[in-house]
Amino acid sequence: MLLAEGLHHAFGSPPVRALDGVSFTVQPGQTLAVFGPNGAGKTTLLKVLAGLIRPQRGRVQVEGGRRAVGWIGHQPQLYGQLTVRENLRFWASLYDVQAPPDLLKRLGLIEQADRPVRALSRGLVQRVAIARALVHDPRVLLLDEPFTGLDRLASEAFSRLLAQHAAAGRATVLVTHNVEEGTELATDIAFMRAGRFVQLAPRAGRDSRDIALAYRSAIGGASPSA
């Protein structure tokens, strides 16, 4: 469903290696959780998968092409001057679909629906960003720290959404620093560092504590930015 082969990418000059030979596949129903230190290349990886960055080497294959991808990035990708509803309507229109009526409700955005996004608090904006990414019911979800700024209820609601999404046979790549949230949803777990997957294995019933330990041993106590 999602295939990455030997991805290499470096930014700027002098070049900073952000991706250095990453390969993996994600099957329908799978959720790959990627953990890694800051600057490991996680965001770059997702952008490459989404097709926003053309990798300098390697190839990406997404079943269903652009239409099938839903992406949540570090930025919300919304128009601050437009209201929540207007934003969703616009993004939906680009996919020739109607925004699912219950989406706003499930994310607790009913009261905010007609306020301009610019006037919303950070967590509320993040909820809109989530709604925006799910508006066309994508078959492949690429999530870059999607829980950022969400309060407890919202993140639980969102976790439920993701679980259903996986149950419906969708594929997900989830980047996060919060091992609990990540593990809960993951079927596979990858540790990324300096542009490489240092470990990629099925979760196989490990709980968040095991993962945390594994992460330590894989990434090590090295300087946080290494």
Partner: protein
């Protein structure tokens, strides 16, 4: 590096030949009746002008191919050609006024040809500025290519629309459909100097290309030696 040396040699010979051009121009070519010695600058002015325009076209062509092949060498060539073109445009913009002062009695006049040469110059400046303003090499190359192609397409517009304006500036004497209206010896000298400028262009471009190449090499190595984030 070898390439730099080659470029240097070519440039050196070209400059030598340029001296030759002027020896010939001053010694063996008749002095133009109306303009007197001032006309001698013609042999510098016109070839420079022709190459200033051609360089932009070459930038454009290289850019087109870059967008298809994504070969950094093409981008490097475009950059080099643009830099050289800037110099030639500058030459035209200096020799022109020097010539203009005695002939027209003014350094500058808002004449279509003159102004459009200024555009050409600014087009180059813009091109180099854009290159300077983009950090990531791949992006820089693509942006530059886009601008280069647009520039190439602008040149003919500018070049030909000049004929639609009243202008002080001489209309083509040499590059025109009918036979060149220029005394044989002058024409010969002129052709000679056009050849010399071609050589100059080649020499300069080779040098700039090589230097650019070296710079990129340096950056790349700098990147490997731990400058990267990991």
């Amino acid at each position: 590096m070898r390439m730099v040396r080659v470029g240097r040699w070519i440039t050196a010979t070209a400059l030598l030949l340029l001296v030759g051009v002027y020896v010939r121009a001053l010694e063996f070519t008749p002095v133009e009746r109306l303009q007197g010695l001032a006309q001698k600058i013609f042999y510098l002015h016109v070839p420079a002008a022709i190459w200033a325009e051609s360089a932009m076209v070459l930038v454009g062509i290289a850019s087109v191919f870059y967008l298809f092949l994504k070969d950094p060498r093409l981008d490097r060539f475009a950059a080099a050609s643009a830099e050289v073109g800037t110099v030639f445009a500058a030459i035209v913009l200096t020799t022109g006024p020097i010539w203009g002062k005695p002939i027209w009695g003014t350094w500058w006049s808002w004449d279509a040809r003159l102004t459009f040469t200024l555009f050409l110059f600014l087009l180059y400046v813009g091109y180099l500025l854009l290159r300077g303003a983009v950090g990531d090499p791949a992006t820089r190359a693509r942006y530059a290519a886009v601008l280069g192609i647009c520039g190439m397409c602008l040149v003919p517009f500018v070049h030909f629309s000049v004929y639609m304006f009243r202008t002080l500036h001489p209309m083509p004497i040499v590059l025109k459909p009918s036979a060149p209206s220029l005394p044989g010896s002058m024409l010969a000298t002129w052709l000679f100097s056009v050849g010399v400028f071609t050589l100059l262009y080649v020499g300069f471009v080779i040098q700039r290309y090589a230097l650019e190449f070296l710079r990129e090499q340096l950056e790349a190595t700098a990147g490997d030696s731990g400058m990267g984030h990991a």
